[in-house]
Symmetry: C2
């Protein structure tokens, strides 16, 4: 250990035993895109290395197969359906009805109240000003965008320019992934051991528009048609991942620099399954589906001080809303009693529990219970044994009728325990069978 | 070279310069399933080795994305639409209207008439007795099944027991892939240098029913429901490929044994794109689609005496109906003047030409022209640049309107040059959105 590193390490040696948190969220990255999750292209050297230094979960899920409901669950530690804004797939308009209510406790507000320095760098997508925003929900600082997608160069969102420093709009030059990385590195370097920190780094990559660092001209062509259907490629998609991975490498290096590596719990995950250029094999399905490819996501976790075994995998069932209870438990912070958590501490006792999903889009329902999965899409019902058939092609509904009924019943019991679906819950689809060439199989 | 091998080689040294042909056709194997085509599982050591000794085509296509039309084109060297039976997707019933007419010249009949020993081992699927059959279409011997699929153990087809020795039904014990391999090896060992030979080895693997060599019990469970929707897995699928690959290794070893390795053109390909457990990434689409994953297939070609460069790839456009002209040219045999070929000699001059597809199912149309592809599905039209976007996600129709119109016009000109679609052309789908959980993306 170099002298300066050693000094830094001492500076950050954490007497209170409260870890720092770096929570990195990719946008529309699929389960199998990263090389360490089976991806064929070496687009993720830093994340692959992170995985070799920590754990990879192989049954880590998002709470939804689309952006804002999934993020609502991560932020609150609860099923997204407990909040009106969690029903929209995704939140696509500015409305006082659609967002994360400022009074609702969050991962960030609970940690802030316990003395953490908190920052969101990147995407918010949980409601619009003046009603909603990261500064109202526990983050002490925010640099990033508020809506679901922005152009990587012009920083135009679907409804106008969308780049913010706190509640102030700011104009900056640069490729968004790099701007977010720069800010995250700067935040880490600014930290001292006096105070633990939560850095939520929510990259917009590899979400559309399909632009790499070299695609300034493509950005001009696309203009405001961010959800464009006439560009992109597998190569562009993989390069967008690589550029994010490069940024993550810089953030991890900054942790090393300040000597915070050991005492920092680093998590990397995605908000939902892959989009059109993603490789999910052997999983089926994409963003907007409750098939495994729509909801199963990478979970890479490193926390040296905790003694997590390096380079291993963990097959326990985990879901996005588990991160808040996991972080709170790690920090020794109690949840708010009036807002009981649905998630669990992923470093706690292994518990048997079912995971549930429901979506307005295509009237989808799903339960995961051990190796079993109940799935309903457009009224067609399925039972899969994921231990034998993680591709969900062999419907065991009639072979295992008791298991099918058991899971189906469990779904409707859970469903009844949740707030009902609002009549006006909206679905925003980027493409339809008429605009995208669909496969029959 | 061992003495016996040398003697055999001399025995098979071919004074007339007419090569032998071993044409191996897999059933529903996808473009990217084999390891040498990017498949992640090492399921194909013998085919990978064959590729390293020969050429891999990277733009090799099937004439259709479903079985019998694709085979009709391979057998005749012509667009399948020139024959009534080529329109059914696939041929699913016994009828005097549906099959390869015995008077139509074929790869096998033209080679037989030129002095070749010809055998079909495996699947026929080009029409039923008493009207149609391999012995009526140029094969001097036949061991295999006549319909589109049989159980690997009971050898029951969709309409009853379906295993034949010539025109005689035979009952045999064993896993079908192994029985076909045994017979192919036996055929090769029976050959002498006096006569060149064509061996068509049409494995049914990895087509459903989903059974490996260990799945005798599963075969009993499935019974006659061959197109079952409640079994199979990625593991089963890959093992079915591995068992076929093992058999191919034995056939190749038999060629070595008789000293025919150098003088034999070996081709391995598939009849159409992958089925539900196949991995096609980065291609989209499956069997029944005119997306690339439905029609692009592996082409592995080895022919030492021709001096083909080993371990290389060839990116020229190729399509199933090219095999007949390629074999005829290699054998110095002229096609029948009354049945002009639509395919070309793949070892001849590189020519610029368009490839065309049309399907009854979903009213699909496609043209490939250089890097460009026109695609129409259910009335929605697309233009793709496959050099940039082989995943066919970026519709360039409105960005390149002239190219779009050029290819569209070419399609309809070609279409008008073909026999029109018969009113009663049938489509047999194995699954629908109600029976298989479909992705939205």
């Amino acid at each position: 250990m170099a002298n300066e590193e050693k000094r830094n390490h001492q500076r950050h040696g954490n007497p209170s035993n409260r870890p720092n948190f770096v929570f990195i969220l990719a946008d529309d990255l699929g389960y199998a895109d990263l090389h360490c999750y089976g991806g064929r292209a070496p687009c993720s050297p830093n994340l692959d290395k992170l995985a070799s230094q920590g754990l990879r979960f192989t049954n880590g899920y998002a709470n939804s197969s689309v952006c804002s409901p999934s993020r609502m669950a991560i932020a609150t530690g609860r099923y997204q359906h407990r909040i009106r804004g969690g029903f929209d797939e995704p939140i696509a308009s500015a409305s006082p009805a659609l967002g994360l209510p400022p009074e609702h406790p969050t991962m960030a507000s609970l940690l802030r109240d316990a003395g953490y320095a908190t920052a969101l760098v990147g995407k918010w997508h949980l409601g619009s000003l003046p009603w909603y925003g990261p500064l109202k929900s526990g983050y002490q600082e925010f640099f990033g965008h508020r809506t679901g997608a922005v152009d990587f160069f012009s920083h135009q969102g679907l409804h106008g320019h969308d780049l913010w420093e706190g509640d102030q709009e700011v104009v900056k030059e640069g490729y968004l992934t790099d701007l977010l990385t720069d800010r995250a590195v700067e935040f880490v370097r600014r930290q001292s051991a006096k105070q633990p920190f939560l850095l939520s780094l929510h990259y917009n990559a590899p979400h559309w528009p399909w632009e790499t660092r070299e695609d300034r001209e493509e950005s001009k062509r696309i203009g405001r048609r961010l959800a464009h259907l006439d560009g992109g490629s597998v190569r562009t998609y993989l390069e967008m991942i690589r550029l994010m991975d490069e940024g993550i490498g810089r953030v991890l290096a900054a942790l090393d620099e300040i000597g915070a590596r050991d005492d920092t719990l680093v998590v990397f995950t995605s908000d939902n399954g892959g989009e059109r250029f993603s490789d999910g094999y052997p999983l089926m399905g994409k963003k907007m589906d409750l098939l495994e490819g729509g909801i199963r996501v990478p979970y890479i976790v490193r926390w040296p001080a905790k003694g997590l075994p390096a380079g291993t995998t963990d097959d326990r069932l985990a879901i996005g809303m588990d991160w808040t209870p996991t972080f709170l438990a790690a920090a020794g912070v109690s949840p708010h009693p009036a807002y009981p958590l649905d998630g669990i501490d992923l470093f706690g006792e292994r518990v048997e529990r079912n995971l549930y999903w429901r979506m307005v889009h295509r009237n989808q329902k799903a339960v995961r219970s051990g190796v079993w999965k109940y799935l309903s899409i457009d009224g067609a019902e399925f039972l899969f044994d994921l231990s034998r058939d993680e591709r969900e092609r062999a419907n065991l509904r009639y072979r295992e009728p008791e298991k099918f009924e058991e899971l189906r019943r469990a779904y409707f019991e859970w469903d009844a325990s949740m707030p009902p679906r609002p009549e006006d819950a909206a679905v925003a689809l980027e493409y339809t069978p008429a605009t995208m060439a669909r496969s029959d199989g």
